[in-house]
Amino acid sequence: MAMWKEFSKGLWAELPPFRLLLGLCPTLAVTTTAENGFGMGMAVVFVITLSSFIVSLIRKIIPKKVRIACYITVAASLVVSVELLMQAYAYPLYQQLGIFVPLIVVNCLILGRAEAFAGKNPVHLAVADGLGMGIGFTLSLTFLGAVRELFGTGYVFGVEILSGSFEPVEFMIAAPGAFVALGLILAGMNYLSIVKAKRRGEPAPENPSTGCHACRACAGHK
């Protein structure tokens, strides 16, 4: 039960790119197509699950003062492994993702989960947390990629969806389109949060002011 709780929080309540707004660099950069988003997501799932596992495994022998260096070493090794494996078995994807594969090392999601969760919790919970966060990240990237690909080209996963009189909005697959799509998705999620809160009879979260609580992500749980 505890494992399920840690796993499922990454899928909605703490959905990394859309709720925590962590790991935005690859989220915005590689999501020109659904397939690229999915590929990037899978690489992150691999890295974050194994890094959570290893960090949690060695958390008791890591001295407090050098823990960040240890976490980064673990994450960096895993990322290089992913890079090598991708070159060996999925070269076209590697060509597409380019520099963003090695940049997974500095994805704050990886280090964030190691520091905030895996470094303090037992192995099975850390793995559940990493897997949940990774899958949430993948779903978000695939969704964002699919939205941009659909409006930018009319295709999703290379399958034609909109055809005929549809005029592709090329803006959507360019860099600014990523910001617009992300903004609209965030607005949509906030709207959903308000509707959900109202249905439960709770007061709707107030309009954004300054400070952390302005984000409606944690409006549900005090």
Partner: protein, 193 residues
């Protein structure tokens, strides 16, 4: 003191294990990665060198040792209907961003260039990347190695306006491949007889 010692030992161990694991993984994946590069990078460039070859040059490639650098170099035979038309060799030249890799085809009879194809480059999109366009590449078809220089260097190649360095890098890569070809010609003839 004990604490500092522990920090050093733990961090050293983690880094050491990581380094060891990565170097073995690199060795394990090296042959597969080379094959992927051949299929996805060098293979397609061969089509630009001589579009109508009918054999499988990647399968039939032979490895030689470059006598100038002592490094291994792949030579790809390009055949039309079983007859050896040309061999392709990859050369490198400094571009605007990193080295430009150029696959150069040589006619074994008269040593002239049959064509070139770009394998790898990190040139400025829209400017330097125009070296991969057919118009620029076609200038190399049928000329000799000594002619394959920019006009300012006494050759026949028109540099792309706004991309002189990328054009120069391509020429340097062609010259590089030409040097390898000249040095290996006797061995190549022997091997592909």
């Amino acid at each position: 003191m004990r604490e500092i010692l522990k920090m050093i030992v733990v961090l050293t161990c983690i880094s050491g294990i990581s380094g060891f694991a990565l170097s073995s993984l690199k060795q394990m994946t090296a042959p597969t990665i080379e094959l992927q590069l051949l299929t996805f990078v060098q293979g397609p460039s061969l089509k630009q060198v001589l579009p109508d070859y009918t054999n499988d040059p990647v399968q039939e490639r032979k490895k030689f040792t470059n006598p100038l650098t002592d490094k291994p170099v792949n030579v790809f035979p390009l055949k039309v209907d079983g007859e050896l038309k040309a061999v392709a060799i990859e050369g490198f030249g400094g571009g605007y961003g990193d080295n430009i890799g150029v696959m150069v085809g040589f006619d074994l009879e008269d040593n002239k260039l049959v064509g070139i194809g770009i394998t790898t480059m990190k040139e400025t999109p829209g400017l330097g990347t125009r070296i991969a366009e057919p118009d620029f590449r076609a200038q190399f078809n049928g000329i000799s190695e000594s002619e394959a220089k920019l006009k300012s260097q006494g050759g026949v190649i028109d540099a792309l306006s706004g991309a002189t360095i990328s054009s120069g890098g391509t020429v340097a890569a062609v010259q590089d491949a030409g040097k390898i070809y000249s040095a290996l010609k006797a061995d190549i003839l022997e091997a592909f007889k």
